[in-house]
């Protein structure tokens, strides 16, 4: 920032630092928004499938298309799916649920172990649209934080949810979750659940940037732990990066954009990364791309042996 405008700043790779410029053409803009649009399509599409099945009786070959909601559902009357965090809370109340929901939780856990834990947050969770709107408005209006809060507090909330489930005999988060309230009432009939959603919106807009999703939500914390092992990660190509910092500015979880750690592992390894793809589309150097942890690791290994061999030679 302190460098005068006429001198060209260069990154650690010797290339000039270029800022991100929003393309003027619509196709260019759509390219930048591609993951955003895709995420909205997935979020709204899933909501529509649930809504269509319960309200308008959508069927495929005589079987209900997608019955239930994001807490637990059944695809085509055969494949069960369930929120693994909700099922974990139920188990902690010392009630062993039926195999059906245990299988469903296993299936969803497996899906997110492949797709990257917090992909749930950016691609499926209906609250994401609310908090993204709050974050966008907040940027436009230039609102500053009312106070600071550690982003690790979500793990305390997660621990509390599990402890309270065991102590009270009630799935603690499921009984107050604004996520389920919004989702359920959109599908099964509107009540006052929107007030909880309004609370999240106002909190994110006026009180704390990314307050709910980035600091408090225990479901996000749960999926962040899943994400530590998950396959789909964002690859980081060290040689192309000019350290312009655009990715960290656009990231809803900027602490994951640790470039030192990223060049060491070749990816954004933190489970707190939501795989939203904002950094991919904003990066002027195409340094960041979706990839699988497995391929990144093998490439990183061969790269490091090659460079070692080169150094030895």
């Amino acid at each position: 920032m302190s460098t005068p405008r006429d001198t060209v700043k260069t990154g650690p790779n010797g290339r000039p630092v270029r800022p991100f410029v929003m393309p003027a053409s619509l196709p260019g803009k759509l390219r930048v928004w591609r993951y955003l649009l895709l995420r909205r399509a997935v979020q709204l599409g899933l909501l529509l499938l649930f809504l269509g099945t319960v309200r308008w009786g959508w069927e495929v070959a005589g079987r209900p298309l997608l019955s239930g909601n994001l807490s637990a559902s059944e695809l085509l009357g055969t494949i069960p799916m369930a929120d693994p965090f909700a099922v974990l809370q139920i188990i902690l109340t010392r009630h062993l649920p039926q195999p059906e929901v245990l299988t469903g939780a296993g299936i969803i856990l497996l899906i997110y172990l492949i797709l990257g834990g917090r992909s749930w947050c950016a691609w499926v969770c209906p609250i994401n649209m609310v908090t993204d709107l709050a974050a966008w408005l907040r940027r436009r209006l230039g609102i500053s934080d009312l106070f600071r809060l550690s982003r690790n507090i979500r793990y305390t909330v997660l621990a509390l949810a599990l402890a309270l489930s065991a102590l009270t005999g009630i799935a603690a988060f499921e009984w107050i979750s604004p996520i389920s309230m919004l989702h359920r009432e959109l599908i099964f009939g509107i009540g006052l659940g929107w007030t909880a959603v309004l609370g999240v919106f106002l909190f994110d807009l006026f009180i704390l940037r990314n307050g709910w999703c980035g600091h408090l939500c225990p479901l996000g914390a749960f999926y962040a732990l899943v994400g530590k092992l998950a396959q789909v990660r964002i690859r980081f190509d060290t040689p192309t990066c000019t350290h312009c910092g655009e990715c960290a500015r656009v990231c809803p979880e900027p602490q994951v954009m640790n470039l030192k750690a990223a060049s060491a592992t070749g990816m954004i390894a933190s489970g707190e990364c939501t795989n939203c793809g904002r950094c991919i589309t904003i990066c002027p150097e195409d340094t960041l791309q979706f990839d699988l942890r497995h391929f990144i690791n093998t490439r990183q290994k061969t790269d490091s042996t090659e460079s070692r061999q080169r150094r030895a030679a």
């Binding site: 239930g68 309270l164 659940g193």
Partner: protein, 254 residues
Amino acid sequence: MANMTTISRRDFFTRVAQGAALAATGGLIWSYLLQQQARATPFAIRPPGARYEPDFNARCIKCGQCVDACPYDTLKLATADAGIPIGTPYFIPREIPCYMCTDIPCIAACPTGALDPALEDIQGSRMGLAVIDIENCLSWQGLRCEICFRECPVQGWAITVEHHPRRLSKHAMFVPVVHSDACTGCGICEKACPTQEAAIRVLQPDLVQGMIGDHYRLGWTSDTPITREFKAGGATVDSDAPAAGLDYLNEGSP
């Protein structure tokens, strides 16, 4: 983590206390919210096969698959303002009662077992218990109504009509009587009741049922243990065994 070594012991304990206090106050407020909601459970009429309320509340994942499965749109999921634990299924009998499908699709749809799959016969379900307000029941005013009796799907067991003779100038009363051993709590009677506000209502049995207590021995009923003991000649018998000597008068008769 790196500056951990630079924190003084005093600071460390303060941090620990602050963290613990935050978790404790947060946890307390959170558990009050849970308790407050759980307190509303007696007012929910649950789908067939719903387990005992605390077990039901623990198991229900609030997915609404029972609501999806209900062919009569009887079941609803509680919204945040329903006054019933949030997201759980319930029904309002006066609006749409349970029509007691014999295949019980709501239980089949439940993935967690909050609705107990052990219930195979819908007549065995206990969603609630019908209670009659005799001050407002038409039959108890001496009118021939008995609509609840005639609409009852367990007619003759869950609701019977008793004949109460009165003085010569008034005709006898024919009053409905509910029997808790057969009433499923489906609420069809409440839906059918012609009074402005239903004079027969379905409530959770816990709210309305008393318990006579084991120390009462009703000697005039034939199947209580004390009666069997008496009829057996005072000897203590296994209460499940058939009472000895009941038929002694008939013995030897052709």
